[in-house]
Amino acid sequence: MTLVQLAIYLAVLPLLALGILRMPDIYMRMSCNAKAVTIGLGQLLLALALHFGEIGVTARALATIGFVVLTIPVASHLLGRASYLSGQPLWQQTSRDEWGGDEAAPRK
């Protein structure tokens, strides 16, 4: 069980690096890396909890997973918002941009 999780963790990280290289614009790069970090770190911490099998370690691992799941979306949301507002271009094959056309939140 621990080995399965470590394997997932080790598989996810190179994929993340590859994803950052392969994706054409910043929004899609962030789309893949934020989740890869969540999944990878979650699996690593679960493996840790299972390996030691003590209440103290397990509780701390679960609490860390909770904080990661709570904070990573906030960080990537802010990064995405900041890149959009500072004018980072969308990939040219992006089919539509409904934020740009909306007066409620004008694009700078």
Binding site: S31, C32, A34
Partner: protein, 159 residues
């Protein structure tokens, strides 16, 4: 409300009666008072049943989230590994029915944690959320999915 406090304090009476002031004995008293209150009140008022129902909703929400995470990750992984890009990205405005800060935050986190979509902005009036998504075949279909799957789950879990 009186049922709520009754369920909190009656176990103390139970502890006094049995003379054992331990946490385990409090739990036993809690179960017994829950049973007693359940006999005279509606099930929706008894704390234990409310907690169990809430726990069940959170479990269902976690399973839903794990499923979304796995399915969408595999799609992104497939796109990273294969040649060429199968993505059809778009920035979509999704109208919000959720009102409170907590609900909107949870929805935004859920959207951002699902691979392939990223919450960019919530309008100042808090009625529209702008989402950057990697796979948008049909805009209406995408909006419907966000509303019916994610917004529904968020409303269920915080009910």
């Amino acid at each position: 409300m009186s049922v709520f406090w009754g369920n909190i304090f009656l176990p103390l009476v139970w502890m006094a009666l049995t003379g054992q002031f331990t946490f385990a004995n409090y739990l036993i008293g809690f179960l017994i008072t829950s049973l007693a209150l359940w006999m005279v009140h509606k099930p929706g008022e008894v704390n234990l049943l409310i907690y169990l129902a809430r726990l069940g909703r959170w479990l269902r929400f976690s399973l839903f989230f794990l499923k979304e995470l796995t399915v969408a990750s595999l799609r992104v992984v497939n796109d990273i590994l294969t040649k060429g890009h199968g993505m059809r990205p778009a920035v979509i405005a999704v109208p919000l029915d959720l009102k409170s800060n907590l609900e909107i935050t949870l929805l935004a986190s859920l959207v951002t944690l699902t691979p392939g979509s990223l919450c960019l902005e919530v309008s100042p009036e808090r009625d529209v959320m702008f989402i950057h998504a990697m796979y948008v075949e049909d805009v209406e279909e995408f909006r419907r999915q966000i509303k019916e799957k994610m917004e529904y789950q968020v409303r269920e879990v915080l009910r």
